[in-house]
């Protein structure tokens, strides 16, 4: 078993004291970022990315940190969902439905511990899924040339369907702005400068980190001021902390089912943790028959969404690691982390960087065990963080974000640009433009354009090169399926449950 020996190598990388320490710090910070309302995984990863870089962590350690933060966020989001009825991140929206009622009934302890276990099972199933599927996918991904890369980008953009939100023109606009911004700077084919306005700082293009911090840190602060409502006092955790056997038996299949479906939803680029948790919650509620208390504090109602959102968060690492295609905003930021280290994410990653890939996978196992330990016995520690006052939190986040940008490039030009983009981000977000297509467009734009042009230069202008290989054809088919698939699914779903509105 080649995979197993590679995985063992991965554990050797992830198990060094330094990387264990990094994973622990990442889990801890991630849980805190996750539980703070308003800050989700993408903010956490975006803010920590430049800091990891500035600390001169080697690339595998930096990725371990970011993935631990990502995993931690998915755990942390449920704490505020259960205790103050405010989801700490978008994936935990569904957890509020039964978690908060449970807490009000005095069952905060079991709700927290059961959801932690569900998170663990979801993440574990998904990580096993990564080990099983990712190398298979990476196997045939080696044969990628410029033409195949181009079609891959088309596929990734087609997957955006899942991120569209309410208004198609708005999602398209966001994506196109991202695509346009990716053309700023030197054109890597012809060597001319595009849209740099003679500014030396723009010669290499707009740095990814500047876009990310602008969109996800600066604009977040402005939104926080807008939404500064006094969140309710957290319900204190009293009584028993652990769920009992009866509760476990009730929820065990729920967790497993939700974990499996969450993983597969996560693997599909575009469909993220939010969709996975909503779908699994709705499915479990339907399957529970008449005798359920969903909505009033059913333990399965916290188990299902938590298993699903953790599974899907981990599942979205599969397209990122194998194809270099970000499946979500957060994985797009992680791809940015790789490019920051001059590592080109893509089909050859498994071959060229086994240390990074397998170290990362192994560290997911380790991080999840750490998170389980942190989130059951140590839960009271984290509850305290819910009472950090905003007057300390917000300026701290602002300063840390901008220090991060400064650390990467050492010039204040990037700080100014990041702030301006943050202003734009605020306007877009207030007007309900989805931000994920923006960031994906920015990440994919350059690769898409350059690979198309390269493919056409290789074939001397003959477009048939784009359909020449079986891989390219397969990708075109997949792209078509991604465009049509969700609509078909929606139609089927609507016919099956006409009376029950599927929670969004």
């Amino acid at each position: 078993m080649e995979t197993l020996s590679l995985l063992m190598q991965g554990f050797a990388v992830a198990g060094t004291p330094e990387n264990l320490m990094i994973a622990l710090v990442g889990c801890f910070l991630g849980t805190i970022v996750g539980l703070l309302p308003g800050l989700g995984p993408i903010n956490g990863v975006a803010i920590l990315l430049p800091i990891a870089f500035a600390m001169k962590l080697p690339p595998e350690s930096a990725l371990i940190l970011l993935c631990a933060v990502y995993a931690g966020c998915e755990y942390g989001g449920r704490i505020s969902a259960i205790l103050i009825n405010v989801p700490g991140d978008a994936g935990a929206v569904m957890t509020t439905l039964d978690g908060y009622p449970m807490a009000k009934k005095g069952l905060a302890g079991p709700a927290l511990s059961m959801s932690a276990l569900a998170s663990f099972i979801g993440a574990l199933v998904a990580t096993i899924g990564i080990v099983a599927f990712a190398p298979l996918l990476a196997e045939w991904a080696i044969a990628f040339g410029p033409a195949e890369y181009f079609v891959l980008m088309v596929l990734a953009l087609c997957c955006l369907g899942g991120l569209v939100g309410d208004s198609l023109p708005k999602a398209l606009t966001a994506c196109l702005i991202g695509l346009f911004l990716s053309t700023v700077g030197i054109d890597s084919n012809s060597g001319i400068y595009r849209y740099t306005f003679d500014l030396l700082h723009l010669q290499d293009g707009i740095p990814f980190i500047v876009i990310v911090i602008g969109l996800f840190a600066v604009s977040e602060l402005m939104l926080m001021l807008q939404n500064a409502h006094a969140a309710g006092e957290p319900i204190s955790v009293t009584g028993r902390l652990m769920f009992n056997t009866q509760e476990f038996m009730l929820a065990k299949w729920t967790m497993l089912r939700s974990a499996l479906s969450g993983f597969f939803i996560g693997v599909l680029p575009g469909a993220g943790a939010t969709i996975a948790s909503a779908m699994c919650y709705a499915a479990e509620r339907r399957m529970a028959g008449k005798d359920h208390q969903f909505g009033q504090g059913d333990i399965r109602g916290v188990a299902a969404p938590e298993a699903a959102n953790n599974a899907s968060a981990n599942g979205s690492l599969v397209p990122m690691l194998t194809l270099g295609v970000p499946g979500s905003g957060t994985t797009a930021v992680m791809i940015g982390a790789l490019t920051l280290y001059n590592i080109t994410p893509g089909p050859t990653l498994f071959q060229d960087q086994p240390v990074i890939v397998w170290g990362l996978i192994a560290s997911l196992f380790i991080a999840n065990v750490m998170l389980l330990v942190m989130n059951i016995p140590l839960i009271r520690v984290f509850v305290k963080f819910l009472s950090i006052p905003n007057w300390l939190l917000v300026p701290g986040v602002a300063a840390i974000s901008l220090v991060g940008v400064y650390a990467v490039h050492g010039t204040t030009f990037d700080l100014i640009l990041g702030t301006l983009i943050g202003g734009l981000g605020y306007l877009l977000r207030v007007m309900n433009f989805p931000i994920a297509p923006f960031i994906l467009g920015f990440v994919l734009g350059d690769m898409m354009e350059q690979n198309l042009r390269r493919a056409l230069s290789i074939s001397d202008g003959d477009p048939s090169i784009l359909f020449a290989s079986p891989i390219a054809i397969g990708l075109w088919v997949a792209a078509a399926a991604m465009l049509i698939g969700p609509r078909v699914m929606k139609a089927i779903d609507a016919r099956r449950v006409p009376q029950e509105a599927v929670a969004h």
């Binding site: 044969a143 084919n189 012809s190 001319i192 030396l200 920051l340 280290y341 001059n342 390269r454």
Partner: protein
């Protein structure tokens, strides 16, 4: 990590005491980490530390942008007098300086300290390619310029492109008629070569050694004045094969224009001492660089000559006035 931080902290405390060495030693790598500039900075960092030239460890910071353009302008305009700060440069920086891509400043606006090593161009094909030597490739290009696709890691006007254009010139093919595909960095170009998407890759000597061992590529020529030492000794130069193509990528450091004479002389002295030592040769070889030592005025002369040569090439290749 922790150990390093503690050391750094201790060093910061010690830095107060007076020594001749400039304060706050820092090397700016004008690119993202992992590339050639990073390597250049790491080289001087470890050499200074091993030789105990400095008490405080040297920081390596990154300031990417335009193959050094951002760092060049920042140092001249905002940090001209920092005696402890050296900035890494490469042949690519000199080329862009000559092409006017560094803004209003010229090569006379900084103090050139030392060149410590060099890399040389190389012409690479796939191991199963029909071209056994540079002549085969050049004749094939001459016979049918549309059939041979050159690939490399740089855009039109970059060093990698210039190498391809010079090979094409030897074949009597105008640079406008050759086929060239630009990739994002040498790694991608090498992958494309091995995947059969391009027929020849004009890369660098330092990056081929690892691939040569794997038996996947063949190096037709190195573009150095003489044969290279080490693993590449068996590879003939282009000049040996009768083609006057030479491409040297020097690597070294400069400091800001208003750095005090005392600090500047300290750097010159330290580099002169370091470059003569066998330890430095070893550090340099570990980083895949070949010897190329110039300091002070000699380096400034060299840079001046290179700028003139590149300017002429740019005019010939229609890149001037960009």
């Amino acid at each position: 990590m922790l150990k390093k931080s503690v050391l750094a902290l201790a060093a910061c405390v010690l830095a107060g005491s007076a020594f001749a060495a400039p304060e706050k030693p820092e090397c700016i790598a004008p690119a993202k980490p992992g590339g050639g500039f990073d390597l250049t900075c790491k080289l001087v960092q470890s050499a200074l530390q091993n030789g105990k030239y400095l008490d405080a460890p040297m920081r390596v910071t990154y300031m990417p942008g335009g193959i050094g353009a951002v760092a060049y302008n920042t140092v001249i305009a905002n940090r001209p007098a920092e005696g402890g700060t050296v900035v890494a440069f490469s042949g690519g920086s000199i080329l862009n300086l000559a092409l006017g891509k560094f803004g209003k400043y010229t090569e006379k606006d900084v103090k050139w300290v030392a060149a410590v090593g060099a890399d040389y161009g190389a012409v690479i094909v796939r191991a199963d390619s029909p071209y056994q030597n540079l002549k085969d490739l050049i004749e094939a290009t001459r016979a049918n310029p549309g059939k041979i696709v050159y690939g490399a890691g740089g855009s039109v006007g970059s060093q990698d492109w210039m190498k391809s254009a010079l090979i094409a010139r030897e074949a009597g093919v105008n640079y406008k008629n050759m086929r060239y595909v630009a990739f994002e960095g040498g790694g991608e170009a090498m992958t494309a070569l091995m995947g059969g998407h391009v027929q020849a890759y004009t890369g660098d000597a330092s990056e081929v050694a690892a691939h040569l061992k794997g038996g996947r590529v063949r190096v037709l020529a190195v573009l150095s004045p003489e044969r290279l030492p080490g693993e590449l000794t068996a590879i003939p130069t282009a000049i040996e094969q009768g083609y006057k193509v030479e491409w040297t990528i020097a690597r070294g450091y400069y400091v800001g224009p208003k750095v005090s004479d005392a600090d500047y002389r300290w750097w010159l002295g330290s580099f002169d001492k370091m470059l003569g030592s066998p330890e430095f040769d070893k550090l340099r070889a570990e980083r895949g660089l070949f010897p190329f030592n110039l300091t002070g005025d000699k380096l400034a002369d060299y840079v001046g000559k290179e700028v003139k040569r590149y300017t002429l090439l740019a005019q010939e290749f229609g890149l001037a006035g960009q």
